[in-house]
Every structure is written in structure tokens, then in C-alpha cells.
């Protein structure tokens, strides 16, 4: 078996989805933990310092390249699989099986993934581009802040500016809901694709997956909400 045969086989393609999926799950932990610094109620000092650390540390910048490779692979492979799988049944059923055998979100991973991708485009435009590339279009980076005589990019102020708009907050919450359902199936499914069938571990993964899919997107969703309604000082 050649490497090409492995990665173009149906199981191999799913293996890539699972591997990139698990690494994206790991990224979410870092992302949500770091952003939770906004609740320190110190006018964003802890958060800005943390963001500065992430942006200025070479190891993390290299990991960021890995993250982008992973996410692009996950997107491309996801599209390929979705189209491929859809082409396997040219004539559909008059009466569909529907929810009698599976959960709606497990059958809608392509749709949920597309919603997350649309969210990501907006999200990258809002925060990543201004912080990394100095901003484009109407979102210009705000003047830097000074902590202990050192200048920091004021990402916190940028969050406050972006989340002034209720419309943007609603879009972010919808993005988080899509993520929650995507994870609710994806977390468990990734481990199954990687070959986990030992019941003792399956139970742990299932429970962790449900908890993760609720806690992480909920925490993310609370960020724009608490900024918009001024719950953070």
C-alpha cells in the first residue's frame, strides 16, 4: 500500500478529518482560555498581555502556521468528503429515514462546518487581520496601550469596538451555536474514526465531548454578550 492509497482511501480521508479535528479542538482550549482573561476586570490589561505573548513568541507563531494548515486541510477534506458522499446515491428516498436512526446534527456536519467557515471569515477579518497585518478597510488598529512603560497592541479595545454592534454579537452567538453542534458530533466521531472502541474510554470520550461542546462554545458566546452589555469593566 502506498501513502497515496492510504490517504485517498475512505478511511484515510476520515483519518485526516479526525486528526485535524482533534488538533482544532486542542486549539479551542488555548483560544477560550486566553480570551477568558477579558473577565479579569482590569480594563483588558491581562488579556492584552496574553495576546501580546501569543503574537510575539516564535514557537506560537510556528504553531499558528500549523493551525492554518490544519484548518485548511479540514475544510478542503470536508468539502471533498461531503461531495463524494452525496454522489453515492443518485436517486433518493420518497420517505426519508430522518431522525429515526441518527441525530440531525450528525448528518449536517457539512452545513454546520460551512456556517463555521463563514463565521471564521468574519472573525479573522475582525481580529486576526488588524492584529497581525495592521488592519484593512474600516477596522484600523487602535492606538497602543502602555503597561509598565511597554507598548501593547490594544486588542481589548478592538473587541469593545467590534461588539458595540448588536448585529455582530448575534452573528457571533450563531457562530458559537454552529460550533457547539459541530463539536457535539465531531468530538466523539473523531475518536471513533481514530479507532477508539474500548468501552471504558468510549464512555469518557462521550462525556467529555458533550461537556466540551457545551462549555467551550458557551464561554465563547458569553464574550461578545458580556462586552456588548457592558458586564466587563
Amino acid at each position: 500500500m502506498t501513502w497515496k492509497q492510504l490517504f485517498t482511501s475512505s478511511v484515510g480521508k476520515k483519518f485526516i478529518m479526525a486528526l485535524t479535528g482533534v488538533s482544532l479542538i486542542a486549539f479551542l482550549i488555548v483560544h477560550v482560555g486566553l480570551n477568558a482573561c477579558i473577565w479579569a476586570n482590569d480594563n483588558g490589561e491581562m488579556f492584552n498581555k496574553a495576546a501580546h505573548f501569543m503574537g510575539s513568541t516564535v514557537v506560537i507563531r510556528i504553531a499558528e502556521v500549523g493551525l492554518f494548515v490544519g484548518i485548511i486541510l479540514h475544510i478542503i477534506q470536508g468539502i471533498v468528503l461531503e461531495l463524494d458522499n452525496r454522489s453515492k446515491r443518485s436517486i433518493g428516498y420518497q420517505v426519508p429515514l430522518g431522525n429515526r436512526g441518527s441525530k440531525w446534527y450528525s448528518r449536517s456536519m457539512g452545513l454546520l462546518g460551512t456556517l463555521i467557515l463563514l463565521f471564521l471569515i468574519m472573525h479573522i477579518y475582525h481580529f486576526w487581520t488588524p492584529s497581525r497585518l495592521g488592519g484593512i478597510a474600516d477596522i484600523q488598529p487602535l492606538p497602543p496601550v502602555n503597561y509598565d512603560g511597554k507598548e501593547y497592541h490594544n486588542l481589548y479595545a478592538e473587541m469593545i469596538t467590534v461588539f458595540q454592534s448588536l448585529f455582530v454579537v448575534i452573528l457571533y452567538v450563531l457562530g458559537c451555536i454552529s460550533l457547539a453542534y459541530h463539536l457535539l458530533h465531531g468530538f466523539n466521531s473523531a475518536f471513533r474514526t481514530l479507532g477508539l472502541h474500548n468501552q471504558r474510554y468510549v464512555r469518557i470520550v462521550k462525556a467529555t465531548g458533550v461537556a466540551f461542546s457545551i462549555i467551550v462554545p458557551f464561554t465563547f458566546a458569553m464574550m461578545p454578550i458580556s462586552m456588548h452589555f457592558g458586564w466587563i469593566q
Binding site: S9, S10, V11, L81, D84, K88, R89, R100, S106, R107
Partner: protein
């Protein structure tokens, strides 16, 4: 359970041959006993059609006791009908009420082309088995059964997987038309037993390669297959198949 008779309306897929487009036809059957099996109800309908000089409906069946895997009707949106863990032939008419309309479709998957009406070509499954669903042993006198010790739990799991009758309901139910539950049952049943170990790597690689070649989709772990399987094959087998496949692909030296 009380016996009763019923009148039913049936919407059945009619298709002359592989190339014709096909359409739904509506039929009415009267005085169907609740004690009849679903296939016996079809026999009554076919007798009626023959008497009227019309062509009977073609459908697959053989043993009619739930073990051969030939019957294959997609009844009211569910393979093998509404009962859990039941083949079409073991589905009885007491599952329905007087006046019900029942929609009957063939398995839908490009890998299972419709041959005529409700009959589909499931040779793809046979070719997957031929690709590796066997063990190679020299024939001769059978050795003593206790020569090879087998852990009871593993023997049970292997037996549960071997219960797969290859009917194709998993493919019919899967949104991706994936055959993974079938292949995983066949791989698991041999991989769990000592006799299956020598060929376990080539078996799983060849069977998956054949599965992909036949045009089945990939597994997205939705669990629809497990829910409709008349033999209640567990989704765990798919995870085991993934493990067997990835392990074999990682170390195979050719």
C-alpha cells in the same frame, strides 16, 4: 395479541429493468390478516396481480426466517420496516393498522443498482468478501476444538459480529451509502479470533480497497446503520475496523 384483518394502500416502486427510470404504483389489498408476514402480504398482492393479468412485483426473498439476508425492502422510510432488529420477512402485519398507506422502496445506493422493482444487485458485498473476508487454512481432518483457546468475551464479540447477514440495510439507511457496518462486522468477526490473526492486515486493507472501488461512501459515524440493522451489529465494530485499518496501513511492508 388479538387477530384482525385490514385493508391497505401500497405505494410500491416499479422499475422494468436497470436502465428504465421507474415510478411509484399504487395498489390496494383487502382482508390482510394481522398474522401474516410482510412478504406474505406481498404474495397475496402478487397473486391478485397475476389473476388480473398484470405483472407481479419483483422482490428478493429466500429463507423467510430472518437469517439469509435476501429480503431488502425500504418500508415507510426505514429498511426492513418499523420494528427494531427485524428483517422484512419477520415483520408482521400487526405492525400496521386498517387503512394504512405503506410506501415500499428498494435500497437506494449507486453501489446497489435496481435490477427490477424492489430487487437490487448486492454482488458488491460478495466481491468485498472475496477480497478478504475469509481465512486460508489447509483442509484435512478438523482439529480438536479446544486446541486453540479463545477468550469467552472475544468469542462472544466475534459471534455478535458474525451475525451480520449482509442484507445491506446499513447501506440503505446511511446518508453516505456507506458499507462500513457490513465490512466492519466481517473484519471484526475474523480479527477477534486467533484463526483470523495471520491475515488480519491484508484482509482489512483489501476489503476497504474493494469497498471504495464498489462506490460506497465513507463513514461519518451517524449511527443510522446500527439503528436499522436487523442483526443489531454494533457501531463499535466500525471503530475497530478503523483501528485495524490504520494499524495495518502504518506497518504493512509492500
Amino acid at each position: 395479541m388479538e387477530h384482525y384483518n385490514m385493508n391497505l394502500t401500497l405505494k410500491v416502486w416499479k422499475q422494468k429493468n436497470k436502465s428504465e427510470r421507474g415510478r411509484f404504483e399504487t395498489y390496494h389489498v383487502k382482508n390482510i390478516s394481522s398474522e401474516m408476514s410482510f412478504l406474505e402480504m406481498f404474495d397475496v398482492l402478487n397473486e391478485q396481480l397475476i389473476e388480473e393479468g398484470k405483472e407481479p412485483i419483483a422482490f428478493d426473498h429466500d429463507c423467510r426466517e430472518g437469517i439469509c439476508g435476501m429480503c431488502s425492502m425500504y418500508i415507510n422510510g426505514r429498511p426492513h420496516g418499523p420494528w427494531h432488529g427485524t428483517t422484512t420477512c419477520q415483520l408482521h402485519m400487526r405492525a400496521f393498522k386498517d387503512g394504512d398507506t405503506i410506501v415500499v422502496e428498494p435500497w437506494r445506493a449507486n453501489a446497489f443498482p435496481v435490477l427490477k422493482d424492489l430487487t437490487v444487485d448486492r454482488n458488491a458485498f460478495d466481491r468485498i468478501i472475496q477480497a478478504g473476508g475469509f481465512i486460508s487454512v489447509n483442509t484435512g481432518n478438523a482439529q480438536d476444538g479446544n486446541n486453540i483457546p479463545i477468550e469467552k468475551e472475544k468469542a462472544d464479540q466475534a459471534f455478535a459480529a458474525a451475525a451480520c447477514i449482509g442484507c445491506g440495510a446499513c447501506v440503505a439507511a446511511c446518508k453516505n451509502s456507506s458499507a462500513m457496518l457490513f465490512v466492519s462486522a466481517k473484519v471484526s468477526h475474523l480479527a477477534l479470533l486467533p484463526q483470523g490473526v495471520p491475515e488480519k492486515k491484508t484482509r482489512v486493507l483489501n476489503m476497504i480497497a474493494q469497498m471504495d472501488k464498489e462506490g460506497f461512501g465513507s463513514c461519518t459515524n451517524t449511527g443510522a446503520c446500527e439503528a436499522v440493522c436487523p442483526k443489531e451489529i454494533s457501531l463499535d465494530n466500525i471503530a475497530r475496523l478503523n483501528k485495524e485499518y490504520l494499524n495495518a496501513a502504518a506497518v504493512i511492508d509492500k
